[in-house]
């Protein structure tokens, strides 16, 4: 299945802003995160088609997955 992955802020470094990815049916967000060499604790926001998603959520064909890093400084 095809899924669009959008990355934001530091997640773009050495990766991409937007990429169409061919993923096996049943792929979880967590697996995409791992494929991108990101760790779970770096994740700030997960959006799937503009709605908040979870790491253990299953992706569906045509989904747009957006990942933002955690920001907490002051």
């Amino acid at each position: 299945m095809q899924v669009t992955v959008k990355l934001f802020a530091t997640f773009r470094n050495g990766r991409f802003k937007l990429e169409e990815r061919e993923l096996p049916e049943g792929t979880l967000v967590r697996q995409v995160v791992a494929d991108l060499s990101l760790t779970d604790d770096e994740i700030g926001i997960i959006m799937i088609n503009g709605r908040h998603g979870m790491l253990d959520q299953e992706l569906l064909p045509g989904d747009v997955l957006s990942l933002f890093p955690l920001v907490g400084g002051g």
Binding site: D41, H52, G74
Partner: protein, 282 residues
């Protein structure tokens, strides 16, 4: 007070009270700067120092700002700018909370940090700065960490709390306490070129939503640090939100988060669910 008011009225020009007359009244009548400002505003005299506010903020609104209290939790990168802006705006009471003293690595961005005040408590620097820029503003300086144990006490008597913290766990505690005491919280966070702002009213859980995936530790700021401009941008948006909350005007960043990327110059709005209102069946 009648004599003082007559004095202020005599010295005012076109409804505006010059700073020199304000100071003369302080000296002549033995009043505090705050007392003179209150007397002026309550009687429709616009302190001339706020004259460039006047087309956005009328004398009644300026009085409302003067009569308001805001707690600024954290006096580092974000908090320094927030305090500077709220003091210039004319918010009458600021509670500045921070356990730390200035260190050399603060100098690249924290507006209150100077080579001369390294080692000085951040809240004391905040108090001194406000005294310099607007002596009518009262600062309660608390050199302590904000937490669940002292939170209610620190927020007593204030209308809004500003999150200028550098720790996600303390932020979540601030969200919990502001919800419990029933005041809005303006949340801001930064890391490198990136930052975000959101405003949360009691009963809303935007901040908890923003950090729903957080387990422990810090965000990208730990690797990136923070430059001079990111705190200024995010703190200024926070100050604008505080102003609008106090005056009850404009559109707030409620149930949404504004994420700003200063490297790519992108702004993203992330929606957060409004709390579900329970509707009782008839």
């Amino acid at each position: 007070m009648n004599e003082a008011l007559t004095f202020l009225e005599e010295w005012s020009r076109e409804g505006m009270l010059p700073w020199a007359a304000h100071c003369a009244a302080v000296k002549h009548f033995g009043l505090s700067h705050a007392a003179v400002e209150r007397l002026a505003l309550q009687n429709g005299l616009f302190p001339a120092r706020y004259q460039r506010n006047r087309m956005m903020i009328d004398v009644h609104e300026q009085l409302r700002l003067f009569s308001s209290g805001v707690a600024v939790i954290g006096c580092g990168g974000l908090g320094g700018y927030v305090i500077e802006e709220l003091a210039r705006l004319g918010v009458g009471h600021l509670v500045a909370v921070d356990p730390d003293v200035f260190e050399e690595h603060n100098l690249n961005r924290q507006i209150l940090a100077t080579p001369n005040n390294l080692g000085l408590a951040k809240v004391e620097a905040a108090r001194q700065r406000v005294e310099q820029i607007n002596p009518a503003v009262t600062v309660t300086a608390v050199q302590d960490a904000f937490g669940l144990a002292n939170g209610r006490e620190l927020l007593a008597g204030v209308e809004v709390a500003v999150d200028a913290l550098d720790s996600i766990s303390y932020r979540l505690e601030l969200a919990e306490v502001t919800g419990a005491v029933g005041i809005p919280m303006v949340h801001g966070a930064i890391g490198g070129w990136y930052g975000h702002v959101a405003t949360q009213f009691p009963g809303e859980e935007t901040v908890q939503g923003i950090y729903r995936h957080w387990v422990a530790g810090k965000g990208i700021e730990q690797q990136l640090g923070n430059p001079a401009f990111t705190p200024a941008v995010i703190a200024s948006i926070e100050a604008a939100e505080v102003c609008k909350i106090l005056l009850g005007k404009g559109e707030l960043l409620r149930n949404r988060k504004l994420s700003i990327d200063l490297l790519e110059m992108e702004v993203h709005e992330i929606p957060y669910d409004q709390p579900v209102k329970l509707v009782r069946a008839a």
